[in-house]
Symmetry: C2
Subunit: 419 residues, 2 copies
């Protein structure tokens, strides 16, 4: 047993070190089909672990059907549904194609994605451009003329401008922005106000010099100004390339994926990188927009919990007491981070939190510590309506213990001979 | 005595309320001579209370001579000095012309100034555009070809672009930016990182749409990107229009000016708005740039302490533990603000500090409380070299108790009959 334990400790140190050493940089904008490994012409990606159509959460179904219409494979949602049921349209988790998706996470082949590279380890990750701050978004399970209009704008205006921009700049260092934003009130999941402003000031001079239709460029900077969460998608995909760099280390019990599809929460650990362990998606505690209650809320959903997986979001809550859930209560915000520290291997010295005297965010969730303490990872997030209403609130959820129990059983089975 | 005390309390509430109700907005860029009341064609303004040439601090002298050459009144610093000694060039405190100046505060008639209006009370204030982040600046008492080059750029590029911008926008609400920046790690005197980014994201779309030479516009946004303290001058002049709105209230012992010229610190109180009370300028405790020590430092200097006068800077230190002096020590940062609270009338609900659970910055320095407690206002600031080296460090100073003692004596004299 001692030998196995030593191997695990060493492997977990390595996994955590890889997360800390990761350097996410934005390098390109491409169509999903051109870059996501394994994505097919007739396939749509979604958030969370794999799921069958009959068990899929209503907003995710709605979003998926909307994407089919967006792609022009069907004219109506009903037609789209028949297409899915016929098996002609496949669907698959974003996470299995080096991608991540916010909330429903629905990403279809022709949609433009941000390309982010881990400079240290060379792996890449992909995510949609932030859709809009409007309540109704495809990512939140809404569908309608306005949703399609916004998606068309992303495709025709935002994507080409951002592609021209990043091509001119070469790359934008996301780790630097994340590090600075943590000292400015962001936790980089539910709050990206500072990161978005820092991103804007970094790109503004280059946007100005871009040899591009000026009205389009102007629209893009105006869009970023109006979306305080614009940087969230950069933060999420930065989390993805960071977590992926720590995946596949023998003996490591470090969690490298936490992801939800509105029905189940799935996790993966470094030692078993291709295997999902699931538990039921939980309710989200939080604040609801006027006119909505818990009864209207879809259960826990989205790949965005990859931010927590690498030590941001709820793990960095101490940096962001202003968040809705803590309402400026500094002690409560500190308590969140301190609790998450109990299940982590270490701290990220690149991501210091002022309220902790500059101590880094807790990083490297150890499956064993989760089970020893009974503390499961907290996740900060938006709340989607379950009937396609779009965003109806903001809150915080807990990953289910069951998923972690299953993962430990599988890990024990694999190394039973070494016990 | 009770009656007088009641009148003082009421007047101090009014003075503090006026500070809280103030709404500073940026509205224009003009030449100083065209807007500063009482400024003459042959007059140069400087920071701090009035001072004679022989007692003026060396960096301020240097800066003043540099401005004379900048104006073309002399060809060399020696010629400029003779001109001053001949009495042909006058000098006068910025504060007596509705203006404020950072560090040496030297502002000559043709220099472009930011025009900021207090929307609530209608009064205006003026300040130079942030000069540069380079070590050598006229404002820090440096003079040379590079300093003149930067000043020329401000005059020929930054000023016209910013004027066109604010004319297009109508106005920019500085209070909103200050309020948000306080939740993002700024104290708005020595740290304006968030405020500068928020300002940049607010103006960027308008800059993009400006019908103006694109290369010039691009230079300006690049300049703002490179100067994290760019917003400091907006914060300082916002302080000026806020403090001025509280000046001239009979019976009020609220401090409406704290200002330093490197030789003396001068204060003014609401009840005696035209009268300066002075004490010796103090040493600045702080961190020195490599190669410099306390021996190289000019004593306390600049009108920027107007930020502390209205509850920002050292008074809001709890918002900004990352500042050099507290080096991320949250308790120390809180202690600064808590100490300043002891000498203040109230709190500004518009300027909440997250680390205080959203409680507003302490505001309305009551002269009587300063003398009762012996606590004098702390001031966050940059440190100028005394030999024209430019900025050599950052630190914190204390206003001298002597100035407050003199003010209380004058106040008592005025109301002796009511005792």
């Amino acid at each position: 047993m001692t030998d196995l334990r030593t191997k695990i400790e060493k492997a977990n140190q390595e996994a955590t070190k890889r997360m800390i050493d990761s350097q996410p940089v934005w390098v390109d904008v491409r169509k999903a089909i051109d870059v996501c490994p394994g994505l097919k012409e007739n396939m749509i990606m979604h958030a969370g672990p794999p799921i069958s159509w009959d068990r899929m959460a209503p907003p995710q179904k709605n979003s998926l059907k909307g994407a089919i219409v967006y792609e022009g494979w069907a004219k109506t949602l009903e037609e789209a549904e028949r297409l899915v049921e016929s098996g002609k349209v496949e669907f698959s988790p974003c996470h299995e194609h080096d991608a991540v998706g916010s909330m429903c996470g629905v990403t279809s082949p022709s949609m433009p994605v941000l390309v982010v590279r881990n400079e240290t380890f060379g792996n890449q990750g992909y995510i949609l451009i932030y859709e809009t701050s409007e309540k109704e978004r495809l990512s939140f399970g809404s569908y309608g003329p306005r949703v399609l209009e916004n998606l068309a704008w992303i495709d025709e205006v935002a994507a080409p401008v951002l592609k021209a921009l990043v091509t001119k700049m070469g790359s934008v260092n996301l780790g630097n922005i994340i590090s600075r934003a943590l000292t400015m009130g962001d936790e980089l999941h539910s709050r990206n106000t500072a990161a978005t402003a820092l991103f804007a000031i970094e790109i503004a001079p280059h946007l100005m010099e871009l040899n591009f239709d000026r009205a389009m460029v102007s629209q893009v900077i105006m869009f970023i100004q109006q979306c305080e969460q614009f940087f969230a998608h950069f933060s999420i995909v930065a989390g993805k390339v960071t977590a992926d760099a720590a995946a596949g280390i023998d003996y490591s019990t470090v969690v490298t994926t936490i992801s939800r599809n509105g029905t189940e929460v799935g996790i993966r650990i470094s030692d078993l990188p291709a295997q999902w362990f699931t538990g039921p998606a939980g309710h989200i505690k939080g604040l609801f927009f006027s006119g909505y209650t818990q009864d209207d809320a879809q259960l826990d959903m989205g790949d965005s919990a990859i931010t927590e997986t690498v030590g941001l979001g709820a793990f960095a809550h101490a940096a962001s007491p202003a968040l809705a859930l803590t309402k400026g209560n500094v002690d409560m915000a500190l308590a969140y981070t301190n609790e998450m520290q109990e299940i982590c291997v270490g701290n990220n010295p690149n991501y210091g939190i002022p309220a902790l005297g500059g101590k880094g965010t807790p990083v490297g969730i150890d499956l064993r510590k989760v089970l020893d303490t009974g503390i499961t990872p907290g996740i900060n997030m938006g709340i989607a309506g379950k009937r396609g209403e779009g965003q109806i609130g903001v809150g915080n959820s807990q990953a289910p213990l069951e998923a972690f129990r299953k993962a430990l059983l599988a890990f024990r089975d694999k190394y039973a001979a070494e016990k």
